[in-house]
């Protein structure tokens, strides 16, 4: 079934098809439409979800934690400062091993206050113990949300999942996408059936106990192991999903990488723009390629290193600053992943697109030009830089 939907409506529609038990609902631009559409489904009796309106995102995530622990499948949506306000509870959800699903519509963090897209919100939450899956477009936003629960709820994983899409660019743009039949979605996603939950009367459960130093480290190692396990599970679920949808997903997408010498690594909607540039450069005989990271947590380090091992120069594109003074978060992961290669490509980091700053095919071309100069001169130049900002012309 083909339909014209915005990214937000596509995710809300996925939620409707899943028919979760509980939604913790609080609005924030640009994710507001998700609970808004969903409220309509609730009002129309199209879902049986307990729709809990709260006074903040700290509370919406707390609702999800409590409901999920009780044995109810819980969903939530947020953006930007909303995600930041959830921060404390994001850790609680992950460490209590509660597979909540959160639609994160990526937006810049304040301040200065800005409602447009970059990845600083979810990148700030990258170490919370949540699985993070990023979408390039509306179709992927829909598909990723459907795959989230079978990944997170699996006993080998038991971690919450954040599905991310770019604010406005993806969340508000309307695209024609393929939807699955609701019956197919329900049998694919299945029922949430945890072995233990608060409402199980045979053995009342205690969740989130005080964990003294004699136990905390063990529980963190178990959580880290679960995140490692998630990688195989994500691929397993993707393979199952391909059977019912015909759409293929991996940990990342390799675009024209077979013999690529110059490559770009990026996340989200900019991939669509950069692919057009790669196509153009290929026509001109430039061996350009692109890797779009889909799964950022767990980070596919070994697989990425393998995929980049034959390249000569790579530009990592970070859509969040990070303020490490040493490059953005995607760069840190990528550079770390490449360290184990015997022969490494030249590697640069370019921070771009902050707070909704445009990223055009010409910008992508400039990046590839830089890469080709690096290969020609064997000089990397500044390893970490920004693009798209206004600066005074450099004097001769």
């Amino acid at each position: 079934m083909s339909k014209c939907l915005s990214g937000n409506e596509a995710v809300a529609f996925a939620m409707k098809q899943i028919n979760p038990d509980v939604m913790g609902a609080f609005p924030i631009t640009p994710s507001t439409e998700i609970p808004e559409y969903f409220a309509k489904y609730v009002a129309n009796g199209e879902v049986n979800t307990e729709y809990v309106t709260v006074e903040s995102e700290h509370s919406s995530m707390s609702v999800c934690v409590a409901a999920e622990a009780a044995g109810a499948r819980s969903v939530c949506a947020t953006s930007s400062c909303g995600l930041a306000l959830m921060y404390e509870i994001l850790y609680v959800a992950a460490s209590d091993r509660l597979p909540i699903t959160l639609a994160c519509v990526n937006r810049a963090l304040s301040g200065p206050i800005n409602i447009n897209n970059d990845h600083s919100d979810s990148m700030g939450a990258r170490d919370t113990g949540w699985i993070q899956i990023y979408a390039e477009n509306n179709q992927e936003a829909y598909d990723n949300f459907l795959m989230a629960m079978p990944v997170g709820e699996n006993p080998s994983v038991r971690l919450p999942v954040m599905t991310c899409m770019d604010g406005f660019i993806t969340s508000h743009a309307v695209e024609n996408i393929e939807l699955l039949e609701t019956d197919a979605v329900r049998s694919f996603v299945g029922e949430y059936s945890p072995e233990n939950y608060l409402l199980k009367k045979e053995n009342p459960l205690s969740v989130g106990p005080y964990d003294i130093s004699a136990y905390y480290m063990e529980h963190k190692v178990m959580e880290a192991q679960a995140m490692k396990n998630a990688k195989a599970r994500i691929l397993e679920v993707a393979a199952e999903f391909e059977k019912i949808s015909g759409r293929h997903y991996g940990l990342f997408e390799e675009y024209r990488m077979e013999d690529a010498e110059l490559a770009m690594v990026l996340i989200g909607s900019s991939a669509g723009t950069a692919k057009a540039t790669v196509d153009k450069l290929r026509e001109d005989g430039v061996k350009a390629g692109l890797i779009k990271i889909r799964v950022f947590r767990p980070f596919p380090g070994e697989e990425l290193a393998q995929a980049l091992s034959k390249t000569k120069a790579v530009a990592v594109m970070d859509k969040s600053e990070g303020f490490s003074a040493n490059g953005g978060p995607l760069f840190a992961e990528t550079r770390s992943a490449l360290y184990d290669l015997k022969e490494r490509p030249y590697l640069i980091d370019i921070v771009y697109g902050l707070g909704g700053r445009d990223f055009k095919t010409e910008d992508a071309e400039k990046v590839f030009e830089r890469l080709s100069n690096i290969v020609a001169t064997s000089e990397t130049g500044p390893v970490y830089s920004h693009m798209g900002q206004r600066e005074r012309e450099a004097k001769e």
Partner: protein, 102 residues
């Protein structure tokens, strides 16, 4: 399924539960938290009228009751907060300094 009584500081992580969840209730009873006490209540049995007012006020259920009689404190769980002293109408409890009970 592993029970709280079978988990201790030597249990390997493979035998622990995800997130430290506990598959039963009332397990705090097994943990000695009386060591946190810096002041200690003393029960004066001859002054006690067994009105039981102190029992529901105790935040730690550290006042045992048997056959309608209030017994001496459960010092494994009493934190020495002194709420019982305040609510007792008969001066049957007094606080002494220090965590040790006689």
């Amino acid at each position: 399924m592993i029970h709280a009584k079978d988990i201790n500081e030597h249990t390997p992580l493979e035998d622990l539960t995800p997130g430290g969840e506990i598959y039963e209730s009332g397990t705090a009873r097994a943990v000695d938290t009386g060591t946190w006490r810096t002041d200690t209540p003393v029960f004066i049995a001859e002054a006690c009228k067994h009105c039981m007012l102190c029992v529901p006020f105790c935040p730690d259920s550290a006042i045992p009751v048997k056959d309608g009689k209030r017994l001496d404190f459960d010092f494994m769980h009493c934190k020495g907060c002194g709420i019982c002293v305040t609510v007792c109408p008969f001066a049957a409890i007094k606080m002494v300094s220090g965590g040790e009970n006689e």
